[in-house]
Structure formats: structure tokens, C-alpha cells
Symmetry: C2
């Protein structure tokens, strides 16, 4: 049966990197039908909405979604509801994509690019499991109001219920079972009640996964330990906001955030796949962006949502080969390598397939 | 007039490091009277309260406060109100210590200890200004409740009003004026309304400080940029929770969190001073802890609250001298240096004064 993939290029470098990813997907000759739609700033410009109804319908009908990136200074002054990011948050929420998997892997070929000492990061391979449809990102009440004394006050609500915590916890325990069986749950349970509950639920869940070793760490300590000794971790699980911060920190440890894919899954394994990096408006349209994170997101998509493990492995092997050939985009360039552009990188991966 | 300093050793290594700091302070022969009181787990054990009334009274009467550290596994299962950390949060709040200054400095003598490459961190000198008495740490409503369907739900409130933001903003702009005149305000304004207000107020304030260059950065990007290129920053300003995470990350970049002091100031410059590190219960009582962060906190105290700049500078010079002599506690040890204990380090600083 033909599988349907929806691509959402989004903003900034989005269309350039998606083009290369689609090129690679096409070269695999699988029975996949590709459609495209608008999201983010591009959608705001065209329709007034960051997530137009037609995009949501197509996303609901698709078997998997491949996203570029959203956002840019052009829309920074827009009211919250008309910001590109709202499109991303809305599609995550409407599709129930609660489980965000963010690997932080150091490719041995790129060890030099990291700002950390080689012995600290060599062989780094951690997975951050971030809750994506709850927490302070979606909590009510929220807004900016004027107090009686005339002062404005801004407020947001950080909230999780047991069911939400258990759901993401299971994903994390299961991910740990497939890896080195160590799970570290991140909280701020010495200050925030919502994370006291988080810690309790994780501790309860651990009984169902006796083969996984659960530990707990405070978020401030986690931010330190990621810098000090990142290889101590296998899988980390945390809420939406801490996950946003720590996964970006972890990604940057590798020095090659342009290499890191991510998956956002619903209860049934349907997912949206996107690079960990942003829309990089400063280099958009210049054939400079690194398409490898998006190409590796295609691999994740084939593996998790389209049941095409062999094709996923082919892409990953091709990316390794291209790195072995010394081909680099500017962000991962180092002495002795050959710097190439976005399109040439896509072509090189296709050639290496 | 005799100045009054209250010392609060707290838990874990607290009493050991405070002892050395008091030794150094005493060696300066200033007209200072030192009193001590209980806080944290030690206070819970002795009185049932993490911040006993007598401690608060003494703190209110003092000109400055020197704190060791609070917390430890012994009290982890206590209810929130009886946790050591509650004592720390309460004293910050009751004394109105809203401005937390956390320098992250790399001592050239310790460059090797950092997990980052020398060229990334050599000469690092940034200051994080963290709001300390508001935000999600203190926001109401908060707690854990049972929903109608029987599920438990945890919730906290992230809230700031204009006055609070302006107050910490001024501290940060003034700190930047005394340094390299660059201030970066950290928010998550693409998702959280409370930080939209934060960003707006900082932008308004900038008009009053035309000599300071204000920029804005999203917290996830800041977590990345601190790893990638920390020297791009001069002063950062942010709320309580983001400040907790980013200041610990920044401190760890130096590899020597055992070296970093902090100040928490009220509107009038009265302050509480403490090392950036925690209570390290695993090494407590073994003469292993590094007392230098606490000793350097004494220097900050002399400078900011006791108007003794010359004495502050003497301490800082003595610490540099001890490092030049190759004396190191275990946490900052590297090849070719001499490893010494907590007491010997205090003695060495006194000798170098
Ligand atoms: C663009 C933004 C809303 C988003 C987030 O904060 O979730 C991004 O930073 C991410 O991590 O995917
Ligand atoms: C102990 C804890 C409550 C405290 C905080 O989160 O503020 C600590 O981490 C700090 O940064 O001073």
C-alpha cells in the first residue's frame, strides 16, 4: 500500500533542506507519495494562519510528516497567535505528538567540531525523551493582564497530570530497554510541586521495568553534568520546557547540531520528523545550510513510522560514507575537508546510497 | 562602627567551607563581629523548621550573611515545607534578596580542568544576573491536587509583574555598565507570555541605558551558545528558573564550580553570599571540599555589602597566589599540582594574604 508523507518546509532554510531530504527519499524508490503544505511564517504570509486548516487535514491523513523549520525575525513582532512557532505547537498538539525523541550523537568524523575536549565527548550517544504536548507550553491560565495598581503581569502555568507523565515515562523506559537500560528522569523536585509528581510517577513506573535502572537528577545539575561528563547518560526523560533547554544543550555538545534529527510520535507511532536545528534565517536561500539533519530525519521516519528499517539504515550508512569522504557543509567544516553547499550535500548522499 | 556578619553553615560540606572562610575573614583584622545560626537540614533536625525564627531575626539584624550550602538525601523525602531548600528560598524571599549575581570566570591557572577546549573558554568572564525572589519559584497557585477522574495533577505558576522585571533589569544594566556594556536578556518569548512581558520591559529599560547594548536570546539557544561560544557574552539577565539552569551550566564551563562565589542583594545592597556549588553530601566531613568559592564569596561580601574594597581585593589576590603556587583541592586537581585538603587550603589563603 502506498504510504503518504507530508512535507512541511516552513521558513528560513526549511525549503532548501527539505528539497534535499525529498531528493534522498525519492532515490530510494519506495512506494511513497509525497505531498507538501504550508506551516509557520510562510503560512502566516499566505493565509494569515500559522497552521492553516488544509495543512492540518493533510497532516492527519498522512502516514508521516517531515518538517523543515519555522520562525524568523520577520514575524517576531506578531501577536502570539500569529507567530510561526504557534503553527508548530498547534500541529504537535492537534496530532497528539507527545513523545519527542532527540538523539545527541557525536559522529567520530566530526569530533573536532565539538567545543568540548575529545575525551569528554568521543563516542557520545545519548537520547533525550521530551514530553511535547503538555507542561508549561500548553498550560492554562496564561497571558498578560493589568493589575489593579496599573502594573502589567505575565503568567503561565506549568502543569502535568499523572496520565501524561506515565505516557511519556513508558516511551522513555521502552527506549531505554532498547539501549543501555539506564534512564535518568530530570526534575526540579526541590522547588516545583509539578515535578514532585513527575518524580513520583517515574518512580512508580520503574517497578514495571525492572530491567531499566532509573535515576533522578535536578535540572540545574543536569545542565552541569551534560557539560562535565555527558557520557554518563543513556536516556534522559523530562518535561516540555526542561527538554527544550537540555536537548539543545546536549545537541550542541556534539558541535554538529546540523547533524541531529528528531522524531515526535503519537500513541500509535505516527510521527513528525524534523531536524533539531532552527530555521537559520541568516543563511537562508544561500545554499549554505546543512541538510543532513533533515536527511537523517527521513531515516528516523522510515524506521519509526513507515516500517522501512532497511531503507533507514541505507540512508544512515550513506551519510557516514559522505562524512568519510570528507565532504562538509560550513557548520561542520574542519581543516583537510572539502566544503560544499546544501545541494551538493544532498547529491553526495544520493550518490552514496 | 562594627559590622555584623551572620554565618549560616547549613548542611553537607557547609560547616567545613564556612570555617575556612571565617578563618580568612578573621585574618583581615577588620572591625567585624561574626555570629552563626542554623538553616536548611541542620535547622530541620534541630528545630523542625528549615528557617527558624531566630535565624531570620539574626539575618535581618546583620549587615551581611555568609551561607555555606543546604540540602542532602537525608531530607529528600520530607514534605516540601520541611525541606532544607525551603529555608534557602524563605530567607531569599523574606530578606528581599531579588538580585542574584553569579560570575562564571575561568582562572587561567585552571584552564585544564574545564571540559571545553582551551580556545573556547580561555579568558572566560561572564556574569549572570538572576532574579531570585519571583517567577515560578514563588508563583501561586501551586501544588498537587486530585482531579475528578481520580488522576493527580501537579501545577506551578510562572509569574512576573513589570515592577519585578524592571528592578532586576536595572541591576543588570548597571552591572553591564561596570563591565563591557553588553547585556543579553534571556527569555522564551516564542512560547511563554510571561517572558514576552519580560522582553518588553527589558527593551523599554534599555532607553535609560544608552551606553549598554541590549540583545535578546531564547533560553534554548542560550543553553547552546554557552557551550558553543561562551565568550560572546558579557552580562546575561534572566528569571529565577532559567537563571538556575543557565548559571549552573555556565559555572560548569569553567570546570571549577568549586571556585565560583555568588551574591544575592536586596534593594539597599545588603546581601547574602554563598558558593555556587551545593552541599556535596558525598564528600562531607572528609576535609575534601574546596573552600575557595566560599572564601571568594567573602570577598564579594566585603565589596558589595561592607564597603571594604581593599580587603576584597586582598582576598582575591591571595587566592590567585595560592593557585599560582600549584595548590589544589581534589575537584580542581591536575597533573603537576599539589593536592591538599579543605583546611590546608584555608591556611594557604591566610598565609598568602
Ligand atoms: C520553535 C519552538 C517553539 C520550539 C520549542 O520550543 O519547542 C523549538 O525550540 C523546539 O525545540 O522544537
Ligand atoms: C537549592 C535550590 C533551591 C537552589 C535554587 O534552585 O535556587 C540552588 O539550586 C541555587 O541555584 O541556589
Amino acid at each position: 500500500m502506498t504510504k503518504k508523507v507530508l512535507v512541511l518546509p516552513g521558513d528560513g532554510i526549511g525549503s532548501e533542506i527539505i528539497k534535499e531530504a525529498v531528493k534522498v527519499l525519492g532515490a530510494l524508490n519506495l512506494d511513497i507519495e509525497i505531498d507538501a503544505a504550508l506551516i509557520g511564517g510562510a503560512a502566516v504570509d499566505a493565509t494569515g494562519e500559522p497552521l492553516p486548516a488544509v495543512t492540518l487535514e493533510k497532516a492527519q491523513a498522512a502516514d508521516a510528516i517531515l518538517l523543515g523549520a519555522v520562525g524568523g525575525p520577520k514575524w517576531d513582532a506578531n501577536p502570539m497567535e500569529k507567530r510561526p512557532e504557534k503553527g508548530l505547537l498547534a500541529i504537535r498538539s492537534k496530532l497528539g505528538l507527545f513523545a519527542n525523541l532527540r538523539p545527541a550523537i557525536l559522529y567520530p568524523q566530526l569530533a573536532e567540531v565539538s567545543s568540548l575536549k575529545p575525551e569528554i565527548v568521543a563516542g557520545l550517544d545519548i537520547l533525550i525523551v521530551r514530553e511535547l504536548t503538555g507542561g508549561i507550553y500548553f498550560g492554562q491560565p496564561r497571558g498578560i493582564r493589568t493589575l489593579e495598581n496599573g502594573d502589567r503581569e505575565g503568567f503561565n502555568t506549568y502543569v502535568y497530570n499523572e496520565t501524561e507523565i506515565r505516557r511519556i515515562g513508558r516511551q522513555a523506559f521502552e527506549a531505554a530497554q532498547k539501549r543501555n537500560k539506564r534512564l535518568c528522569s530530570i526534575d526540579k523536585s526541590n522547588v516545583l510541586e509539578v515535578t514532585v509528581l513527575w518524580k513520583e510517577v517515574m518512580t512508580e513506573l520503574a517497578k514495571e521495568y525492572p530491567d531499566v535502572e532509573l535515576s533522578h537528577m535536578l535540572v540545574d545539575n543536569a545542565a552541569m553534568q551534560l557539560v562535565k561528563a555527558p557520557k554518563q547518560f543513556d536516556v534522559l526523560v523530562t518535561g516540555n520546557m526542561f527538554g527544550d533547554i537540555l536537548s539543545d544543550e546536549a545537541a550542541m555538545l556534539t558541535g554538529s547540531i546540523g547533524m541531529l534529527p528528531s522524531a515526535s510520535l503519537d500513541e500509535n507511532g505516527k510521527g513528525m520528523y524534523e531536524p533539531c536545528h532552527g530555521s537559520a534565517p541568516d543563511i537562508a536561500g544561500q545554499n549554505l545550510a546543512n541538510p543532513l539533519a533533515t536527511i537523517l530525519s527521513v531515516a528516523m521516519m522510515l524506521r519509526y513510522s513507515l516500517n522501512e528499517e532497511a531503507a533507514a539504515a541505507r540512508i544512515e550508512a550513506a551519510v557516514e560514507k559522505v562524512l568519510d569522504q570528507g565532504l562538509r557543509t560550513g557548520d561542520i567544516m574542519s581543516a583537510g575537508c572539502t566544503q560544499i553547499g546544501t545541494e551538493a550535500m544532498g547529491d553526495a548522499v544520493v550518490a552514496a546510497l
